[in-house]
Symmetry: C2
Subunit: 253 residues, 2 copies
């Protein structure tokens, strides 16, 4: 087992506004929180909270599809839409059925699953969204490791909703004694503070919001902005996201 | 001559928070504004306003030094400090002497000159800082082209001071009828609005500010935050930054 960082090194937080910037950060001792609020990391929280046993992220559509032969349900989204031939796309409402209890799911999305791949050198990888903010914060504090908040963005460009959630997490972690260690944390915090009176108003400025509204997905957007609806901690464990709170050793270490 | 974009295409603004993200933006029809507030693009405005004829940015220290043989003054900065053997570092106060009138300068810096290089595919490249904000805004409006505000950041990571100035420019251009076209514009605008009551307070959160203060450069930082002290438009023209307002054809086209 690797040595635990000292308290001073451990309780720090950094923000990475795009997976393209991650190579410039040292993450091998950090917990990386992958953020794709609209909609992947919200849907992951919903699915695990409804009893899905494991969610295997894949980079390609072909790879996600190939898991069907092993009894997985499959989900594929590109540019906001469900790919033909797959059980699911990326809507949180897809994952609310009691019938999903115990199921295994293979998923690929435009941005979120790519960000998970980009973070593969991290000490641990979890996913975050408003849906699991409080549970995630408590779990991170229990780990005591440096935290890197990785915004998936939209095709490598920073986006509003992920930066907003990163800002919310910076504030939540600072309230637990963490120190923000980079300028991107200050930028994200300022955005969240500016928006906190009116998250939905701010999100309407997001280019991805416009894209989802044009696809008729207002209901999904509204759901993704609700806080603390699903107290789970999706942890990448043996290649799949599982709820860290249900593992025999809940730190996942 | 290439066709002028239509008014609708032309009056748009995007923000790029790090040179590492620039490959994801289309810039061949855009004016890219390179921003390195602390201190390169401030010093460029100061130098041109004091009569420096041309500033040749170079990527390497060796290349900057090699221009001495051609009668150039040379400047090199790495990690905030002047490189030994060079006439200047990166302080705006270095460039306030009347003796500089007509001089040619070769410069390399940690971040700003690298950002200029990253933007080489742009239709035109200018530099911006608080020091030349109003003159730059007027010139951009006269061009009528799409604008990309490129923050130099610190070693590929977004930084506070450049994002802050990008936000100020988004607001200035929106007041002239431009439309912000990406989420990074909204993020930068929110930061500037949060900070505008107290730019210096905000900048004290910047990691680069701390670095400069440790080097005893408080006076430089204060100077770099003053607005509209040098009404010039540094334009990359035949490999060197010159004041577009002094060119025979002031559009620089």
């Amino acid at each position: 087992m690797e040595p635990t960082p000292t308290a001073a090194e451990g309780r720090t937080v950094r923000v990475c506004l795009s997976p393209s910037l991650l190579p410039h950060l040292k993450i091998d001792q950090a917990v990386v929180v992958v953020i794709d609020v609209l909609r992947f990391t919200t849907s992951v929280a919903v699915a695990l909270d409804h009893g899905v046993a494991a969610i295997r992220p894949t980079e390609t559509i072909e790879e996600a599809g190939s898991f069907a032969a092993q009894g997985y349900l499959t989900a594929a989204e590109r540019n906001g839409q469900t790919v033909a031939g797959f059980n699911f796309g990326n809507s949180p409402y897809s994952y609310m059925s009691p019938e999903l209890a115990g199921a295994r799911l293979a998923v690929t999305t435009t941005n979120g699953t790519q960000a998970l791949h980009a973070a593969r050198a991290a000490y641990q990888i979890v996913t975050g969204a408003f849906a699991n903010q409080a549970a995630l914060t408590r779990w991170l504090v229990a780990q005591g490791r440096p935290v890197v908040l990785l915004c998936s963005g939209w095709k490598h460009n920073p986006n509003l909703e992920d930066t907003l959630f990163a800002g919310a997490m910076v504030l939540a972690l600072e309230a637990e004694g963490y120190r923000a260690k980079d300028d991107a944390s200050t930028i994200a915090r300022a955005l969240y503070q500016a928006a906190s009176q009116s998250k939905r108003f701010y999100i309407t400025h997001s280019s991805h919001y416009q894209r989802l509204i044009e696809l008729g997905l207002q209901r999904d957007v509204k759901y993704c902005l609700r806080a603390d609806t699903h107290p789970v901690v999706p942890l990448l464990h043996e290649g799949a996201l599982v709820d860290a709170l249900r593992l025999p050793n809940p730190t996942g270490a």
